[in-house]
């Protein structure tokens, strides 16, 4: 029931905002903030009350587990489709991240959005509904439904409240490109889902879209490989994996701040979640066979994103390319599939969500004040602010992987977990860390250091902005210094995943290494 509330509360909040559009648009932001705070409270309550030592996937040799919480009602019985939600440690972490970033993205739109505020917050909240649905669904039809539905509000956010950068492409172009890339890749996934369901039907005589039932579908290696590619394409586009990434910089540079925060902080994570929840467990052997190629693409993304980021003059485009680089680490870790790498992936998902959100919020605030995002027109801003540059330095350092902050932990664990099986790829990936230092420091240098154009002070952070950034920074430090609570929650799903995937990934005869993280 709690799970249903996670979807219903933002949905109803969105409806209310829509009506406020006509009655009193000024109130919409308060309603949206209230709604998101309730959602965050729900997520935290789930965290505090549940016992997350269980997940559906069985550990090696154990009987199958169960969801920590679930909700299921029949929906389209004719096709074996149920409206079923389930929660385990993996989804809990992502749900909490979504709720937190949801609150902050309402906060950072507080002053930015003047026109049609009610409709804006409706889209924001409904986007959150879609993302929550993706994280909670345990029926493949329902999962696909949410996967596609979350695109529509994001499309509106970019197309209606985005920025048209002078000389760049119009925001409508970016919005449509985003939608077409993700939706058409999604259709391929739908074909793969249907094929999987029919294969399962042929084997068992039962037509079902249920995740739990489809897990152990017997199929030939060739079928599994093609189906895995169908799922993989959708995730690769959303992640985004080079060469499917070209929508991301456009979408980010045109999106409003809240849109960027949600896009980088949560939407990209749905793809990482998809890999962990669907791709590996459904097709362990096929994924393992494909792993070297996927990891190579991941490493390519790490390097390519970093190099491209270095060349950007637009702050938001720069941060967008760093996202591509950071998501490359996630692919690397997921397909390495060791316990350490998987825990690193989890940490990287959270840390990148926080650091990217922080950087995009900072970009938005700079843009509000300077009315430009062009690095060539910045420089020497440190002298003209009191508080903002410190936050800038903090998040830039976080993004380059300063030890003691979350990103470092994530990337370090991923590389460590990958090294044993794939030392070469891990080594090349490590180069990405160096490159990330290069682009991060360049970003810092070009915005805040150097000689200021004028000495005129610019209005500094107000209390609202200060609170947002402080929250993000605090979470970031927490992730870096005391990650144990997070690891504890994600341990069961990651262990189970590893025990599914490892036998397929390692050569026969070599025992699967299960190493605990304390």
């Amino acid at each position: 029931m709690m799970l249903l509330l996670l979807l219903l509360v933002p949905f109803i909040g969105g409806l209310v905002c829509w009506h406020l559009q006509r009655l009193d648009p000024g109130q919409a932001r308060s309603v949206a903030l209230g709604t998101m705070i309730v959602v965050l409270a729900l997520a935290l309550a789930l965290w505090l009350t549940g016992d997350y030592s269980q997940t559906l996937l069985p550990l090696a040799g154990d009987p199958p587990g169960h969801w920590v919480q679930q909700f299921s009602v029949p929906w389209i019985p004719r096709l074996g489709i149920r409206f079923s939600l389930g929660l385990d440690g993996l989804s809990l972490l992502l749900v909490t991240l979504t709720a937190l970033l949801g609150v902050l993205s309402v906060g950072c739109s507080w002053r930015e959005i003047h026109t049609n505020a009610g409709f804006f917050y409706m889209n924001l909240l409904w986007n959150v509904v879609g993302v929550m649905g993706v994280f909670l669904a345990t029926d493949l039809f329902l999962f696909f439904l949410f996967w596609e539905v979350m695109l529509v509000p994001m499309f509106f956010l970019i197309a209606l409240w985005g920025h048209d950068i002078p000389g760049g492409r119009p925001r409508l172009y970016a919005a449509i490109k985003f939608f077409i890339f993700t939706q058409s890749a999604g259709l391929v996934m739908l074909v793969a889902i249907l094929a999987l369901v029919f294969v399962h039907y042929a084997a068992s005589g039962e037509l079902t879209f249920s995740y739990a039932d489809l897990l152990a579908t017997p199929m030939s290696a060739r079928t599994a490989f093609w189906l895995m590619l169908g799922f993989g394409l959708a995730f690769a586009v959303k992640l985004p994996l080079v060469p499917f990434h070209s929508w991301l910089p456009d979408a980010h540079s045109q999106a409003p701040t809240a849109g960027s925060v949600i896009l980088a902080g949560i939407l990209l994570k749905t793809a990482a979640f998809g890999l962990l929840r669907y791709l590996l467990p459904l097709f362990p052997a096929a994924s393992a066979a494909f792993a070297p190629y996927a990891m190579a693409l991941g490493v390519l993304g790490i390097i390519y994103g970093a190099v491209c980021a270095f060349g950007q003059n637009d702050t938001k485009r720069l941060v967008a390319y760093t996202s591509i680089s950071h998501m490359g680490f996630i692919v690397l870790g997921v397909f390495a599939g060791t316990q350490i790498a998987l825990q690193g992936v989890m940490m990287q998902i959270l840390a990148h969500g926080i650091s990217a959100a922080g950087l995009f919020i900072l970009c938005g605030e700079l843009q509000e004040r300077l009315e430009t995002r062009d690095l060539r027109k910045m420089g020497g801003l440190w002298a003209r602010f009191t508080n903002l540059p410190q936050f800038g330095l903090f998040f830039i350092l976080a993004s380059l992987g300063l030890p003691g902050l979350g990103n470092f932990l994530g990337e370090f664990l991923i590389l460590l977990g990958t090294f044993k099986a794939h030392p070469r790829l891990a080594m090349i990936g490590t180069v990405g860390l160096v490159l990330s230092a290069v682009y991060s420091l360049i970003l810092m240098q070009r915005t805040f250091y150097g000689k200021p154009g004028t000495e005129a002070p610019i209005p500094d952070l107000d209390r609202r902005e200060f609170a947002i950034l402080t929250t993000l920074a605090a979470v970031m430090i927490w992730l870096g210094l005391y990650p144990r609570p997070f690891f504890a929650v994600s341990r069961a799903p990651m262990q189970a995943l590893q025990s599914q995937y490892a036998p397929a990934a390692t050569e026969p005869g070599e025992p699967a290494t299960v190493r605990e993280i304390p």
Binding site: L151, V152, L160, L190, V191, F198, Y201, S220
Partner: protein, 500 residues
């Protein structure tokens, strides 16, 4: 004639009777509201009778050699009647301010509906032709209804000429088949086809001609050239009928023919149909990209959608007829809603609101209409939680079931291209409203207050909106309905052996 067969025929009889009553009523006194009311009452009664037939006709029963009354037929009859009802209400709103003679529209509409219903129940070449002509003839008049308007007249003429050519093709095709085998009953043709197609070149030619003719009526590429012009020129409510009821009727008949004659098992015919499907999907979606006119855009979109439906038809698995039923249902509801919105913002007095820029900022002026059009466009694009997704889901399901990977590829690519123009059209509704000076002349309804006569149209649109949402959110009852309307006796769940 027994009582039971009288009941089975009752939908057809009621519609015929209503058209006579309407004709007499027009002769006695012209009263727009009354005529509309009589027509709608008649159609509603026929719809109720159709539901009755559905409930009683669990097993198909042949009424003469011409008509088969079964659940399949009554499902499509119901769809046609719903489309006709919606068209009636929309026409009432649309014609309220038309200074010419308004009442004949309903008479034509009733006759066309009757033709469509005959086609839905037809299993014989004679009923095919009678139904088709009864459907098409009134359509010419309806398309050209605003006779003083050049564009409407042009649309009517174009439709008349091309449709007549298509009818001639069909007639010739039927004659060739009859000349070879001496039968016009679908089932018997199927039996002959199964044994002896190869040594019957005349039959092959006949089937090809038949296909071309039906392709014209369904506006499949490459026989689609009339569609955008007619869609653009004809009055919006008429297009709503033309785009839904008339095509539902033809497609239902095609489906019955293909299933009864096992035509999809014949590889040559299946290849021909596949070619038509792929061409339609590509042509429809690609040509729509450049349209700045909403009605033309929807015309090309219709071409693509019938391409998708052909994919389900060709798949011919156990899911196929159900998939077509679901798709036609969702498509009908969606198209009616889209053209309903166009009719309500247009006026017969002036230019119709058809350019995309006429819709700029509609959401901020008339949020209700804009929301309905948004949902309709999303539904046509096949976005989940709208009706269209269910249809697309079924088509993909039917294709995957029979491993039609090439056709599925076409559907996926076509949908991706389609998104581009649906989204571009949709976003127009939300852009900042054009200032009053920018508004092109002749879009009065969009700015002014809602006249009372719009009530009927608005009511219909609300029903359609709810249907679109229901089909997307809780499709179970509709799915069961379409399942009941399946044609093959073994409508179980699909069977698929794994591809090793």
């Amino acid at each position: 004639m027994t009582q039971l067969s009288l009941l089975a025929l009752s939908p057809l009889l009621i519609v015929s009777l209503t058209s006579v009553v309407v004709m007499l009523a027009i002769a006695i006194q012209r009263n727009h509201a009354l005529i509309a009311l009589i027509s709608m009452a008649g159609l509603a009664l026929a719809l109720a009778a159709t539901a009755g037939v559905w409930l009683t006709a669990a097993a198909p029963s042949a009424l003469t050699a011409l008509l088969i009354i079964d659940r399949f037929g009554s499902f499509y009859m119901g769809l046609i009647l719903i489309a006709a009802l919606a068209t009636c209400a929309l026409s009432y709103s649309y014609l309220a301010r038309y200074p010419g003679r308004r009442e004949e529209m309903y008479l034509l509409l009733l006759l066309a509906t009757l033709g469509g219903m005959i086609m839905a129940a037809g299993a014989h070449f004679a009923s095919l032709f009678v139904g088709l002509e009864l459907l098409s003839m009134p359509m010419y008049g309806m398309a050209a209804y605003l006779v003083k308007e050049r564009r409407s007249l042009e649309a009517g003429m174009k439709y008349l000429v091309l449709s007549a050519v298509a009818s001639a093709f069909i007639l010739f095709g039927m004659a060739l088949i009859y000349s070879e085998w001496g039968t016009m009953i679908f089932g018997e043709i199927g039996a002959q086809l199964a044994v002896a197609l190869d040594d019957a070149p005349l039959v092959l030619l006949g089937v090809a001609l038949l296909l071309i003719g039906l392709g014209f009526k369904l506006s499949l590429a490459p026989f689609h050239l009339w569609t955008p012009d007619v869609y653009q020129g004809a009055p919006a409510p008429v297009v709503a009928f033309l785009g839904t009821a008339s095509k539902v009727a033809v497609f239902a008949l095609l489906l019955r023919y293909v299933v009864a004659t096992h035509a999809a098992q014949d590889s040559a015919l299946a290849d021909a149909l596949s070619l038509l499907a792929i061409l339609s999907i590509i042509a429809g979606n690609v040509l729509a990209l450049r349209q700045l006119n909403l009605k033309r855009l929807l015309a090309y979109s219709a071409i693509a959608h019938f391409g998708y439906m052909l994919v389900a038809l060709i798949s011919s698995g156990p899911l196929a007829t159900e998939a077509v039923g679901v798709y036609l249902l969702t498509y009908t509801v969606t198209t009616l809603a889209a053209f309903g919105v166009i009719s309500l913002v247009s006026s017969p007095l002036e230019r119709e609101a058809e350019a995309l820029c006429d819709y700029r900022g509609l959401f901020w002026r008339r949020p209700g209409l804009a929301a309905i059009l948004t949902l309709a466009l999303l539904s046509l694009a096949g976005v989940p939680l709208t009706a269209g997704f269910l249809g697309k889901f079924y088509v993909l399901g039917a294709g995957v079931d029979q491993r039609q990977w090439l056709l599925l590829g076409a559907v996926v690519v076509g949908s991706a291209v389609g998104l581009l123009f649906y989204l571009r059209a949709m976003i127009q509704l939300y852009l900042s409203p054009a200032s009053a000076a920018d508004l092109p002349a002749g879009v009065p309804a969009s700015a002014g207050a809602v006249p009372a006569s719009l009530g009927a149209g608005t009511g219909v649109l609300i029903v359609l909106l709810l249907l679109m949402l229901a089909l997307g959110v809780y499709p179970s009852p509709f799915v069961n309905l379409a399942q009941g309307a399946g044609l093959s006796p073994e409508t179980g769940v699909p069977v698929l052996t794994e591809n090793r």
